[in-house]
Subunit: 332 residues, 2 copies
Amino acid sequence: MNKQIILKNRPEGLPDSNTWELQNNPIPEPGEGEVLVQHHYISLDPAMRGWMREGKSYIEPVELGDVMRAGSIGKVMKSNHPKYKEGDFLTGWGGVQQYTVTDGANWYPVDPNIAPLPLYIGTLGMPGMTAYFGILEVGKIKEGDIVLVSGAAGAVGSVVGQIAKIKGCRVVGIAGGSEKCKYVVDELGFDAAIDYKSEDIYEALKRECPKGIDVYFDNVGGEILDAALSRLRMHARIVICGAISQYNNMNDVVGPKNYLSLLVNRATMQGMVVMDYAKDYGKAAMEMGGWIATGKLKTKEDIYEGIENFHETFLRLFSGDKMGKLVLKVIE
Amino acid sequence: MNKQIILKNRPEGLPDSNTWELQNNPIPEPGEGEVLVQHHYISLDPAMRGWMREGKSYIEPVELGDVMRAGSIGKVMKSNHPKYKEGDFLTGWGGVQQYTVTDGANWYPVDPNIAPLPLYIGTLGMPGMTAYFGILEVGKIKEGDIVLVSGAAGAVGSVVGQIAKIKGCRVVGIAGGSEKCKYVVDELGFDAAIDYKSEDIYEALKRECPKGIDVYFDNVGGEILDAALSRLRMHARIVICGAISQYNNMNDVVGPKNYLSLLVNRATMQGMVVMDYAKDYGKAAMEMGGWIATGKLKTKEDIYEGIENFHETFLRLFSGDKMGKLVLKVIE
């Protein structure tokens, strides 16, 4: 059987026990030109919260009754596809379920001998691509820039900061708790970290970025975005990648009251969506793979087991109770 | 004597009768390399409210006890300056007073035979330059763009919209009251106008910009900025030029709660300050002068008289009780 997580109700705030339903359904058969993929790992990402919301966004919402959308990686069990054979590994938008059938559109083959599977949905997957294109193409970092990144211990932020270090920037991370702060400085090589749970963020930014900020990569929104705005340097760039502090309260989003700092500092705030860079994923994966191989780019996956545990594992994205890329192992 | 408006107290909200003091002081003597200018007109601009505030901004605040800063235009009465002689007309940062002495730095000569004096502090002065560089360099308009501009009947907005029309855009203006709306459509040639005082701005934008907005030129902030954010097209640009709705309440600025539309639409919000373009003022004035001469660009000045009336005239910027560029005639 194929265990699937079905979206049953659109939550108002944090998803609860009525949001999803675990269903057992027959394993589907691949048709002509299709493959059956058995998922090994599911990617859990903050963006999923946005996909559950009705209305216009950068992607269609997940419909009620549908399998919850998610990135996934797994093995081809049956193939009627000209390019893929049994035993191949593929990554794509398989959803939170144990098996899926696909015609291969927007799926990519991966080699489990080169890197462990979870890496392909982490640093070599959507979060890594988001970091890569966000900080390089939107943030336009250059050597000597002072770069601030929130969610610094997370799947995206940890890569953003390390790329900025590789490019010769001074990098300050913001994370929740001393363990994460220690991790980003000691393990990832950030120049400094700010614990937003125990420090006044305005004071801490004064201390760690006395000359201001050239680039702020924002994964969180809310008060931290406002604090970053208050310390921009001239011609600073803010990359709006996400707003995890607001995702469970989208009807009452707190806007950045310090946005007029954009005017004072001739600064730019720009939004990004990783899918726009799909044609260059390969190039980015090659470069990041090289950095990983040479030890310049470190990755960490926080892997939980069991599709039954999807809901409670998903909530770790918002409680912050995880370290690095959050992954759910769904193969039994 | 030289009547001067001196900043006495920093106001919390709208300036009141304690904010400024009218003083009579001796007319100053120009030193070596200086000129004495008798002001004819003073430029009244929303930005002046910002200059009264203490603290870091794009320009030093006006100090308590100093003459209130303002753009001005007047006639050289005495000259010890190698470039200027008696009878020349100059424009610069002369402040709200009847006479000033300057060494000519950041002052520009103007010819009263080419254009009436108020035009040099309006469309050919700071407001016009703000419009020109804001919509062209920051807004990056191109033919066919849908352009929305707030403060559409004002000194900056009216020029922004007309330049966008010249460049082949569809232009929708937002203004307060039916008279102003009629003016921007009938006189200035905007495609449509929205009266924010009598219409629901979200509904009106749906009607006038059914396909969304490519460029929003923001002079006002607040709810109108949020409404514009809600209708962005892909890769839209928001030019943050000002936030007149917030200037008298800067301790409790309302941030744009719809800012995540930047992410969804891969859009950019960028601040600008006109002084950055000073080296190109001449080029812009030539081009705009040409448009004025050929009737493509219309200007309107709203001129009040008497330096004694500075305070009540200044408040018209915020009540909206004026049409076009607000100017105070101070020569007696």
